[in-house]
């Protein structure tokens, strides 16, 4: 009985040691991954910063104004002033679409017009 207890304890110690060893390595691995991720983040942040600076630099008001001046022939952009605003009633109301005059009725009765001389056979089919 006692030897069994010893055996189990020894096995448990070996097992725990293996587990601790593995955990240690996993932790170190995770730390390395984290460090490389941090470097990656830092690098990417640096690249984003470059893009942001470039975007801001290319869109700086001085340059945009120069571009507008250079391309005036194509764009015809001028500074917006009060004359560019309008009242809503300055816009013409769209004219109503042409509608069929239904109220007047459509003439459906009347003598059949003889357009050509060969309509005799169709007389019966014409319904009022």
């Amino acid at each position: 009985m006692r030897s069994l207890v010893y055996l189990v304890t020894a096995l448990a110690v070996i097992g725990l040691a293996t587990w601790a060893y593995r955990e240690n390595h996993l932790t170190q691995q995770a730390m390395n991954t984290r460090a490389s991720l941090e470097r990656e983040i830092d690098r990417l942040e640096g690249e984003i910063a470059v893009q942001r600076v470039e975007w801001a630099y290319l869109n700086r008001p001085d340059r945009l104004r120069a571009l507008v001046d250079v391309n005036f022939a194509a764009l015809k952009l001028v500074p917006i002033t009060a004359e560019h605003f309008g009242e809503i009633d300055e816009i013409a109301y769209p004219s109503a679409p042409a509608r069929l005059q239904v109220g007047a009725g459509v003439e459906v009765f009347g003598a059949l017009e003889q357009l050509s001389g060969t309509l005799e056979s169709q007389d019966d089919e014409v319904q009022p």
Binding site: E38, R39, I41, D42, G46, A49, V50, R52, V53, W55, A56, Y57, N59, R60, P61, D62, R65, P79, I80, T81, A82, E83, H84, F85
Partner: protein, 595 residues
């Protein structure tokens, strides 16, 4: 320890005499001894258990406390920039809509570890070829100095320069990563941003410190590692700042002015949308402070914030507002303006003779010094001082720039009756354009005190009531009439009714007195005049309009056309709808009558 014998002779002999079994005595003593042993062993075990429990308890407490601490602290994400305990982090600065005004760019510094250098002389010569401004002989001397192990060569390198240094192939030349401050818009808003420099340098990082302006004022906020990723949002609006700068610099050239400044402020919240001071500089390459000449002529000088000037007639608005607010006069009260007004040896005169009497409104419209001086005679210096103090005009302007607190208004000492009279038309006391903007905002926005700010605010606590809302409505009408009937006729812009007051102050000379032909022209305007949303202050230093037969220096010919052009261009950008003049005037009249 003396062991008690198991078989004490005395008791055994006694027992034998009485015919008892002496073995009983031995058994009894043995039992007592065992009992004693058991008791001491138990106590010892208990103590051990207690100690063990305490050790475990403290261990658990320690672990728990550490876990709690880890859970409670702010997660620190990046450690890359934090080596050597020098943080290169600095938050961005953006305008009110998130456009970048200042940010960081990765770059490298160049240093040399002399012990690792193979051929220091050649390295120095090659470096001299890449950087022509370097002193090759001095560099070589440093590289070969046996006492030196470490030499800083350059603080910043462009990628091309870095490649060129790589190509030298010298193993002792090393690159240290750096963050450098970049202002992508160049000179735009230079005086607000200020500039940055490197602080303490390490091999892996260098501190970025603010030098002036908002960079220096918000130093702690910008360098706070917890908020390094949140940009600092200013109240400036980049397109509007650009427009104001463009118009103002054009006007400065045409009018041959020494300097100019403009402040555009939200009349309700005090947010500064544009703050321009010309001449300006490039914060990416901030010039050194001037060592000679007048500091106020340096491009580094922020005229809008540091520039305290006698602003002249624009200050009449405060005198008239006080007279109206304290019930001394109404806009239609007649004031005696027969000139010159004598006070001791001093005479107060008007620019022209406007007749012997005028209404209070006319005093403003015609800008009569005698008129405001007479009103201030009634009020007196003490009440005037108290009134101006309420508007914050007797202290440094409260704006978030490092320069603001260092500049103070110049006040008369003692504040005599004569001082009160001259201050009523803007002489004898200095004011900065930014403080003036806040003062005008408070005058016209219904009478609530406005504190200027450079930070974007979503909501602003309502300021103290400094004048009655009724007085404010009267002031709006008076300022409107100054533009539409008086000295600021160039500010009539179709669609945007403007109210304002001109000021043309003689500049003080270096030896006391005032200079000839040197005028500081100011126009303080509010728009739209019937419902003021924005306040615009334009000042021009020694501007001259030479289009006429003789040079004209008054603000009506210099600062007013500038302000009008700025308003014409900026008002649509601010999203203001054009309003017919008649509608604005009927609204002004209704407001003034309602009170």
């Amino acid at each position: 320890m003396i062991r008690t014998p198991l078989r004490p002779l005395a008791r055994i002999l006694k027992a034998r005499e009485q015919g008892q079994d002496p073995a009983c005595i031995e058994q009894e003593n043995l039992r007592l001894r065992r009992q004693e042993l058991r008791d001491t062993g138990r106590v010892r075990a208990e103590v051990r258990l207690l100690v063990l429990a305490l050790i475990f308890l403290s261990g658990f407490v320690l672990l728990g406390a550490r876990m709690g601490l880890l859970a409670a602290t702010e997660p620190l994400e990046l450690r890359v920039g934090m080596v050597e305990n020098i943080s290169g982090a600095r938050a961005d600065i953006t305008d009110r809509n998130g456009r970048v005004l200042a940010t960081n760019l990765a770059t490298h510094a160049l240093y040399a570890e002399t012990r690792r250098m193979v051929d220091p002389e050649r390295a120095a010569v090659e470096l001299g070829r890449i950087f022509p401004e370097m002193d090759v002989a001095r560099l070589a001397a440093r590289f070969t100095d046996p006492d030196r192990r470490f030499v800083w060569v350059r603080t910043r390198l462009s990628p091309e320069q870095q490649q060129a240094v790589h190509d030298i192939g010298e193993p002792g030349l090393m690159f240290g990563p750096r963050k450098m401050r970049v202002y992508p818009n160049g000179r735009m808003a230079a005086h607000v941003l200020g500039g940055a420099r490197f602080g303490e340098q390490g091999v892996r990082a260098a501190e970025l410190l603010g030098v002036a302006g908002a960079e220096l004022y918000f130093e702690d906020r910008l360098r706070d590692p917890a908020r390094a990723n949140q940009p600092l949002r200013l109240s400036l609006d980049l397109p509007i700042q650009a427009t104001v700068t463009e118009v103002l610099s054009g006007g400065m050239t045409v009018l041959n002015a020494r300097g100019a400044s403009a402040v555009l402020m939200d009349a309700q919240t005090g947010e500064v949308l544009s703050l321009v001071s010309l001449p300006d500089f490039d914060p990416n390459d901030r010039p050194a402070p001037p060592t000679e000449g007048e500091p106020a002529d340096s491009p580094l000088f922020n005229r809008a914030v540091q520039g305290y000037y006698e602003l002249g007639s624009v200050m009449k608005a405060f005198a008239v507002a006080q007279a109206l607010d304290e019930g001394e006069v109404t806009p239609d009260t007649t004031i005696n303006t027969r000139g010159p007004l004598k006070w001791g040896r001093f005479e107060i005169e008007d620019f022209r003779d406007y007749g012997s009497e005028m209404s209070v409104t006319k005093v403003m419209v015609k800008s009569s010094n005698i008129g405001t001086a007479r009103m201030m005679q009634e009020i007196g210096p003490d009440r005037q001082q108290a009134f101006l103090r309420r508007f914050g005009l007797l202290e440094s302007a409260q704006i978030e720039l490092s320069e603001a607190a260092r500049a103070r208004p110049l006040l008369p000492d003692p504040w005599s009756e004569l001082s009160a009279m001259t201050i009523s038309y803007g002489h004898g006391m200095t004011t900065s354009p930014v403080a003036l903007a806040a003062g005008y905002a408070s005058l016209v926005n219904g009478g609530r005190l406005v504190t200027p700010t450079l930070l974007r605010r979503d909501s602003v606590p309502e300021g103290a009531q400094v004048i009655h809302p009724g007085t404010s409505a009267q002031m709006r009408q008076i300022l409107h009439r100054v533009v539409h009937e008086g000295t600021a006729s160039f500010a009539r812009i179709p669609g945007y009714p403007v109210g304002g007051k001109t000021g043309s102050a003689d500049k003080p000379g270096p030896n006391g007195g005032y200079k000839e032909d040197a005028v500081l022209a100011t126009f303080a305007s509010v728009f739209p005049s019937h419902d003021p949303k924005y306040v615009l202050i334009v000042t021009l230093d020694e501007a001259v309009d030479t289009t006429g037969p003789e040079p004209r220096r008054t603000a009506g010919w210099t600062a007013v056309p500038m302000a009008a052009e700025i308003t014409r261009r900026v008002a649509p950008l601010l999203g203001l709808r054009p309003v017919p003049l008649a509608e604005a005037e009927s609204r002004l009249q209704a407001d003034a009558r309602a009170q």
